[in-house]
Symmetry: C3
């Protein structure tokens, strides 16, 4: 299956993983599963020390969760899907490797979560490439661990405002609020990510990994402790008639737009 959803390129111990799930790199169950397996393989392969996450189709980094996985399926499927979303975050946020997001497109909701879970974020300077946890705009609520990840990155007050308003930050604002670390011209996103990676890889791995773990483990532990409750919560929420109806209407609209 590997290679369907990703493109890999390797150089000097660095893997470049390119999301490839047209048209908008939605986080389908298949993509999530592959992504987790790929990360695990890289994690266990000592020749790799860093990963750059980017999109194969500039314009969209990732549109986030795949609504088709959350609509018209059975509870077991919803549970499996949510567990995969959790698993991706757990893998990314505590990865022993250096993870850098080369954000070459819009990065809402789940796409933003992936970026936030990296060690560093480079965003292309294109006003259409906004980034943020915009769940409230769709009438839904970001899970507490999305929230924790955002608070860790931009602080309590900025997170409170951004989450309530579902803010999507264009590049200049994203940099100012600290949801990304650097904004560069679109054709320099990859080279900047590589050059930043060089600096992070100059640090002795073991010390860097232990330090990262010290910073992030308490946040991860909060989800680990209540992982099943969080899955139940998602399944019960998404199974509600009102939510299913909203999702169906939304997906219909998306189909018409394409058509």
């Amino acid at each position: 299956m590997l290679g369907m959803s990703f493109l890999f390129t390797f150089t000097l111990g660095i893997a470049v993983m390119k999301f490839k799930n047209p048209p908008v790199n939605s986080l389908s169950l298949e993509l999530l599963t592959e992504l987790v397996i790929s990360l695990e393989k890289l994690e266990n392969d000592k020749t790799f020390r860093g990963v750059i996450l980017t999109s194969d189709s500039p314009g969209v980094f990732s549109a986030g969760l795949d609504l088709r996985e959350m609509c018209g399926r059975n509870p077991a499927h919803y549970a499996e899907y949510w567990k995969a979303v959790q698993e991706l975050w757990l893998r990314l946020y505590l990865s022993n490797m250096v993870l850098i997001a080369a954000i070459n497109g819009a990065s809402p909701a789940g796409g933003c979560l992936i970026s936030l879970s990296c060690d560093y974020r480079v965003l292309a300077d294109n006003p259409r490439y906004a980034i943020g946890l915009n769940e409230t705009l769709l009438g839904i609520v970001a899970p507490f661990w999305f929230k924790d990840t955002l608070v860790n990155t931009i602080g309590h007050r900025a997170a409170e405002r951004a989450l309530q308003l579902g803010l999507l930050f264009p590049p200049a604002e994203a940099l100012q609020v600290g949801i990304v670390d650097k904004v560069v011209p679109e054709d320099q996103v990859q080279s900047t990510a590589l050059s930043v990676m060089g600096k992070w890889l100059a640090i002795p791995d073991h010390a860097r990994q232990l330090t990262k773990n010290m910073m992030r483990k308490p946040t991860v532990d909060r989800l680990v402790k209540q992982r099943d409750a969080d899955i139940k919560n998602f399944v019960s929420f998404v199974s509600r008639d009102a939510i299913q109806k909203s999702l169906q209407i939304y997906l219909e609209k998306l189909k018409q737009r394409k058509g």
Copy 2:
């Protein structure tokens, strides 16, 4: 009683509550009680989704706690008063409505707490309109939940410095440290608050409310868990001879100034 301490105006589901307790909008027990009742009524009335808090007498937003409630009374009165202060904060900080502070005057101590408990703060650009938790200047200590609310808003380090020094921030500094969100010319405070309210009310209520609750409930729970101890602590502190003497001297001075 309603209407003694407040003026209300209503427009499009938005209530404008104007503090009216001359000369400085002190938070008397009566005002606190009315404010809590009014908030509860609005909260239960589904036609209201937002509240703008402001002062009927520009120049002072609110001078904070009413020292007359803390001086020359019995312990039962002190306990009742403190419980009312707690109740106001609990109501404001977790309100399901969108709360915006239109700060058209000085906003020290308890006046600052009210502002901090809103979702957004607009401050009039007048150098005399300073805002902050200046308790140490009076030789007293801000309660831990005042502190928590400030830390949530401006972060640990800025709060540590501001609380120790009892800093009152004039508009430009207030904006920079993040204790307010926007500074505008004095005659645009209300219109700006209304326009910001529009953006917050554009978000689906249910998702926004759950998100707000997720952000703020842990802070509220800290007080709820030790509410009685916090009251006892206040009563015992304020009953001390030294504190009563200080308050009497301070109140005498205030009377002379007026006279």
Copy 3:
């Protein structure tokens, strides 16, 4: 012993303590012990309300832990040394006095910790005077309470990046990230520290002390609760052959440089 490692000057209830342990003010066990004793004496002497910490040899504020205390000794010595490092931090971070760091030289690792434990930091504007917790550069990990102190000062995200990369901030960057509060020309460091001290001492002591305690005690309690485990952890880490070898090589290099 007093006076070997420090120079004291006194003025108006303010003690100026100057580190004097050439060539780089390493935190030897002797210096730590004297520093703790001196702080305790000042703390108990009500004529002193503030302390300015600075270096007697401009160019280096303090190079941090003394590697000679961690190399070629027995476990009991390592345990004694680490307990002294903990003790210094506990004394500094919760001191009832106002502590101001007049940073007139480089301030890496333990030197940075001392600065962070003060109430205010003034840094000389010299590009060679960098400040930060650069432990990872040496292949080691900052203890969790170093990390907590940094997070309290510059926030979670900035601390995460700084700690992983072992960043040493030159003055302009140090000010921007908030690891120091003020940058002034080198010849104005002491006078600025004194003038800032004046503002802090203008606050009623009791209220300021209780406020400081409220802000910092939870962080201190985390170490107090697991102090022995933290010592064991250090002793076991530093006793490892690989670490001893690294330290020996490093110390040899330092000797050759001097020679």
